[in-house]
């Protein structure tokens, strides 16, 4: 009885005319693109900060404490930005895609409820950690940071479980366009299609955070300021990024095979494969002209080999579904090639670093290496976004793969272009503010390890001493 009322209520969400569907998708994509790099810092940065503090506890060397403390300030600032950009996302789910939320919220919403609690734990302990530097005993302070590192990982795990479900839905029965008989636990965590996504993202987080953190110290090297502090910071950040970028091709191979198995049309779009082919070739670069890849470099049988580990395997083409069910091929394909291309360069850079590190027991000395590291940070963000574009645009035209189209999910409200324009302006302002803040942090003088280390409060000089509640 209730179920019938429910589905009739959900039927009120079907078939809305929305002229600005593409703008709504772009607005959502923009918000993800802004948020995801911050997620990388949420996953990876606490671990790096804690490592530095752990070294301090092990060695007693105040340099590590200075390092962890400075990094932790950046960490909480980026966390605050991540909080607001994440809030925007949860608003946008309802503001832009009410049909999706109304029909399927009962199936996947649990993932976000779990994420909400992770987020709570992260917010509580990041405050205790960052504001507690001088107040908590050193070991207790270190321990207060551990929940931050754990919650950063679990939070992203729960969100990605929802994405895995959207790409490979299950755990419900569809009735009149809405989910009934939802089984949220098995939908989210009994889904075989989610673990590779999570591991891929987890490793990507270390690549992005590692290279971005290393960038300023590489810049320092190029500017001729490369003392013990900079070397230590660079060694920690770059070690993480180098190892992660070496591992990422292995995880990527696993992910690609899962896509080949579960979402063959997405794979066909990633490769620009119009017709089902045995022993399919891989094309590097080039352009998909609606029928084949032109101006690309073809490598025979490589696609079959990569997707199924068999050079003669048959790879499904785009023709197997009607044109209305195909994603926009060039967007997906170029994004995919961008990600793989940059990922390969970063893996090579990581290899160079680890070779010098382990064979010669020192940091690289070539200026070219440091120039590459400065570039690697922004490039890794491009690869990250390109990877998410691959999987999310590759999911189109579906919001719930095979069950609900984005056009059925979108809002019937007006004003999407106005909202989009406003959001672009606000994000530009936000980006400017964050850049300004990071610049100021990087220019703040070092607390000299050893000497003034013990008593220097983090109070900017302009504040009067009796009102020195810093920050």
């Amino acid at each position: 009885m209730i179920a019938t009322i429910l589905t009739s209520a959900a039927a009120a969400f079907a078939a809305v005319e929305q002229h600005y569907l593409l703008q709504a998708r772009q607005m959502q994509a923009l918000s993800f693109a802004v948020h995801i790099p911050l997620v990388c810092f949420g996953i990876a940065f606490p671990a790096l900060v804690l490592f530095a503090e752990w070294r301090y506890l092990k060695t007693g060397d105040p340099l590590f404490r200075t390092l962890a403390r400075r990094w932790s300030k950046v960490m909480i600032a980026l966390f605050a930005v991540g909080v607001v950009t994440g809030t925007i996302l949860s608003f946008e789910f309802g503001l832009l895609w009410p049909g999706f939320m109304a029909a399927f919220g009962s199936v996947f919403g649990l993932g976000f409820a779990l994420e909400g609690f992770s987020f709570f734990v992260e917010a509580i302990f990041i405050a205790i950690y960052v504001y507690g530097w001088d107040r908590l005993p050193p070991r207790l302070h270190f321990l207060s940071g551990i929940p931050v590192a754990i919650a950063g990982v679990t939070g992203s795990l729960f969100v990605i479980s929802v994405n895995g479900w959207m790409n490979h839905p299950g755990g419900f029965v569809l009735e009149n366009g809405a989910a009934v008989d939802a089984r949220p636990w098995s939908a989210l965590f009994g889904n075989a299609y989610f673990w590779h996504e999570f591991v891929h993202m987890y490793v990507a987080a270390y690549i992005v955070a590692g290279f971005l953190v290393a960038g300023p110290y590489a810049w320092s090297f190029l500017r001729g300021r490369f003392h013990r502090y900079e070397r230590t910071a660079l060694a920690i950040a770059l070690s993480a990024a180098a190892i992660a970028s070496l591992l990422q091709p292995l995880i990527g191979d696993w992910a690609a095979r899962e896509v080949a198995k579960q979402q063959p049309v997405k794979l066909a779009a990633m490769e620009g494969l119009a017709r089902t082919t045995a022993g399919a070739s891989e094309h590097l670069l080039g352009w998909y002209d609606g029928d084949k890849v032109v101006y690309g470099i073809a490598i025979p049988r490589l696609l079959s080999l990569l997707a199924f580990h068999n050079p003669n395997a048959t790879v499904q083409g785009l023709e197997t579904v009607p044109p209305a069910d195909r994603p926009p091929v060039n967007v997906v394909r170029i994004s995919f090639q961008t990600m793989v291309g940059i990922g390969t360069l970063l893996a090579f850079l990581g290899l160079v670093f680890l070779y010098v590190r382990f064979r010669k027991g020192r940091l690289p000395e070539s200026r070219w290496f440091y120039r590459a590291v400065v570039l690697a940070g922004p490039l890794s963000v491009v690869a990250l976004i390109a990877g998410w574009v691959t999987t999310e645009v590759g999911r189109q035209p579906w919001v719930v793969y095979g069950f609900m189209r984005t056009s059925e999910a979108v809002t019937g409200a007006h004003g999407i272009p106005i909202g989009y324009g406003t959001l672009v302006a606000v994000y530009l302002g936000l980006a400017g503010a964050v850049a300004w803040m990071l610049l100021r942090v990087s220019r703040a003088p070092l607390e000299v390890p050893g000497a003034a280390m013990s008593s220097a409060p983090d109070v900017p000089p302009s504040r009067s001493p009796e009102r020195s509640r810093a920050r």
Partner: protein
């Protein structure tokens, strides 16, 4: 019965958000209007700016919690509300970005010469956000949100007497909560004039909020009769009376400069009014949608209850820890005595070779399993091996003595590449 449990979570979350984040938005209000006291406007701004530092993020998560429980447990209602009330909700979202940005910049904004202008934008958003969220509540409470994708009037659903009133009430309540909190904070820091200023502001804001609440009953009677009837009978009436009593008690506490109890009774007043709204409206969630009709299936509701109960057992002690540290000033950063560790634990055995061997072995096994195997368990073991490789290789690479923590040779440049 089960269908009602998540709405209780939502009401608790709304109360917590109103009290905690309300105090933060209110601090923005006093940054915007810092005059009229015995201390200088600049000092007042300084005081208000530092109000919420350590707890802002945690306060903010309550809103996320409300949204998430709503879309999981009452998805159709969520979709209807978000689409019909998209305008004020979008405004609130933008306000939250701006307010959050000022927290991201904390610690840097103090010394910046341009801070006044930047700060005004942020502070303006602190007025805009509670107002917009108040109009959303007004739209729902006055029955202006029908079921369906943007089926309600996209303007009149939030631009109506009840919405405007609740919006204004939200601003006044926030300003009041913040003034009480800031007065208590000023006392903790021993700033007597500041304390008196904020005490006076708290009393004024209380008068305004009380007047708005009374005027509100008149407005609601004309504009949303069912809501009025609900608020003036049965459980709704009891809650309204409780809220009024708690409100008066709070004023008495502030008058007597007892800010600690004042905070508690202010929170009770807010909780009672949220509860009164719930009583007045039940069993309807939206016009033509009861709570039983709105609720998700049994499995989902049970899952939400389990997650919330388990989450609360982690959350409540953590929050208690945070607030006990925060309210006692243990997270103020002006302490002079930094504790430096006594002595390094040098002389640990060198495990480099062992670790290196472990790293290599786990890399080979892990890569083999991830790339060559097809079954799920093999991938799981493979990923774990790769994790072991990453951890041991990182431990080795980041701690190689050469080129970093080598002690004593501080300022010697490493590379001959620059001089």
């Amino acid at each position: 019965m089960l269908a009602d449990v998540p709405i209780i979570f939502i009401l608790v979350g709304l109360t917590a958000y109103t009290v905690l984040a309300g105090a933060d938005f209110g601090a923005g209000f006093w940054i915007l209007f810092p005059g009229g006291g015995r201390t200088s406007p600049a000092a007042t701004r300084d005081h208000a700016r530092h109000a919420m530092g350590p707890v802002w993020e945690a306060n903010h998560v309550w809103l996320i919690f409300v949204l998430v429980v709503c879309w999981t447990a009452y998805p159709v209602a969520f979709g209807s509300i978000m689409s019909t009330l998209s305008t004020p909700l979008f405004v609130a979202a933008i306000g939250i970005i701006l307010r959050g940005t000022s927290y991201a910049l904390r610690g840097q904004l103090d010394a910046a010469p341009q801070r006044r202008h930047i700060e005004s934008i942020f502070a303006l958003s602190s007025v805009l956000t509670p107002f917009a969220l108040g109009t959303v509540v007004g739209g729902i409470a006055s029955g202006r949100v029908p079921v369906g994708n943007a089926r309600g009037d996209l303007v009149a659903s939030w631009l109506n007497p009840t919405s405007l009133l609740i919006g204004a009430l939200a601003i006044a309540t926030s300003a009041y909560l913040a003034a009480v909190y800031l007065a208590a904070d000023a006392r903790r820091l021993g700033e007597h004039t500041q304390e008196l200023d904020f005490r006076a502001r708290a009393l004024w804001a209380a008068i305004v909020a009380g007047a708005l609440a009374l005027a509100g009953l008149v407005v609601v009677r004309d504009d949303a009769r069912p809501l009025f009837d609900g608020l003036t009978s049965g459980g709704g009436l009891a809650m309204v009376c409780a809220s009024a009593a708690a409100g008066l008690l709070t004023v008495a506490y502030v008058w007597a400069s007892r800010f600690g109890p004042a905070r508690v009774s202010a929170a009770l007043a807010v909780a009672a009014i949220v509860g009164g709204w719930a009583f007045a409206q039940q069993p309807r969630v939206l016009a033509g949608l009861t709570i039983d009709q709105a609720a998700a299936g049994r499995a989902t509701l049970i899952a939400v209850v389990i997650v919330t109960v388990v989450g609360a057992t982690i959350l409540i002690p953590s929050l208690a820890l945070l607030f006990s540290l925060f309210l006692r000033g243990h997270l103020d950063a002006h302490v002079v005595e930094a504790r430096v560790l006594d002595v390094p634990g040098a002389g640990a055995p060198d495990r480099t070779r062992l670790l290196g061997a472990l790293a290599l072995a786990s890399l080979v096994v892990g890569a083999g399993l991830v790339v060559l195997a097809d079954s799920g368990w093999a991938h799981a073991v493979g990923v774990m091996c790769l994790g072991a490789f990453a951890a041991s290789a990182f431990g080795l690479s980041a701690t190689i003595p050469g080129g970093q923590a080598d002690g004593g040779k501080d300022s010697r440049p490493e590379s001959p590449g620059f001089r």
